[in-house]
Structures are given as structure tokens and as C-alpha cells.
Amino acid sequence: MSISRKCVPFTPFEDTLAKSTIAIVTAGGVHRKDQEPFNIADELGDLGYRVFTDDVNASDLKVTHHHYDHSDADKDINVVFPIDVLRDLQREGFIRNIALKHVGYMGYTMQLKAMYEGTAREIANEIDKGSRADAVVLTGG
């Protein structure tokens, strides 16, 4: 199925937050330290993405991205990938659960079509299959 870029791909949210499972997808170049870093040497950008499970530690994550100043994210990854913040909201009952999968990718590319038609779909499928997310929070840098 192809989506027109002129329309807003709006999916209604029909539940309450207190009953919902939430995933995070960030374009901020976040990956686990033991995962392959994004390839910042390629001027066209890196079309890949990295998946993290719900038990990921904030201290095991880092940023590889050369198109924004991520020095604050290096100190506290939650400023671009709010996994501990989401855990706080779960503890206080604002949301029900943390999704089983979350995704980081590098939101910079000269290959827009490949990003839009390839990577974006792959990430959506990744979240759709096995993350149990009812909704997704997207962040940039």
C-alpha cells in the first residue's frame, strides 16, 4: 500500500493512556553501545535502524549522529530517548506498559525515497510485530 504524501496518515487512538502500551522511536541516532554505530562517514546518511528491548538500560545507549549537538544526550539519553521517563509514567499509572520493542535510527539522509519507502516501513513493521505498542512517541534530536 502506498501512502500519498499529500494526506496526513492519521490513525485514531481509541483507548485511554492508562490502558495503553507505548513505544519510542527516535531519529536521534540512538543505539546500544554493543550495536553497530550508524555510519556517519557516508554523506548520504545511514538508512539502518536499531531495535532495543523493553529492559534496555539507559546507560547502555549512546548516540552516533553528526547532524546535531548530542552532548546533552551523551549526559542523559532521556533528552532524546525518554525510556526512563516512560518508566516513571508507567509507575505513576499514566500509561499501562512499556512496549517490548523500541527503535533508534539516524534522522539524516539524502536518500529520502529509500528512507520514506524502505526504512520507515521496516520500522513500522518492527513495532507492529511483537512490540505490543498501542501508540508510538516519535522524537528527533
Binding site: V8, Y68, S71, K75, V79, A133, A135, V137
Partner: protein, 84 residues
């Protein structure tokens, strides 16, 4: 796939608006790299995330970006503009 509801937190509202996101929050004046606030400002980060998630339950206009002020952030950074 039936689709997954999303909400975007953006610090480049004009750039993001070009993509017409279904729901988006711009924390007014936050700099790029500070989508949720500054390091360690957990209460502010929680407030921003609660506000973003709440957009899922509100009647927002699809394709628009909602701007909210967070005085606790303590700074104002001019967001990048789109050349028209």
C-alpha cells in the same frame, strides 16, 4: 497492519510541519538535542512526555504542530526556519 497512532515531539516545528505529522508537540524554545528538556530535569521531562502522550487523546488538527511553553526549561532557542 491497521496503522499505529503516533505523536511526535519536535524541536524543529517548521521542518516537521512540512511532513504533516498526525500529532506533534513543540516545546517552545527547546534547542535541538533537547526534545524532552535538559539532562537530569526529570520532572520537566515527565511533563513534556505526559503532554505529548495526551495529544493522542485530544481533538488536535492532524498535520499541525501544537506549541507549549515550559518556563522551567529556562532558555529560549530560535528554531530552524524553512526557506520559503
Amino acid at each position: 497492519m491497521k496503522g499505529i497512532p503516533t505523536v511526535l515531539i519536535t524541536v524543529s516545528p517548521e521542518v516537521s510541519a512540512q511532513m504533516r505529522p498526525p500529532r506533534a508537540l513543540y516545546p517552545n524554545g527547546f534547542k535541538i538535542g533537547n526534545s524532552l528538556g535538559k539532562p537530569g530535569m526529570r520532572e520537566l521531562q515527565r511533563t513534556v512526555l505526559r503532554d505529548a502522550l495526551s495529544l493522542l487523546t485530544l481533538e488536535t488538527r492532524p498535520g499541525s504542530v501544537v506549541t507549549k511553553d515550559y518556563p522551567d526549561y529556562g532558555e529560549y532557542h530560535e528554531p530552524p526556519r524553512v526557506r520559503k
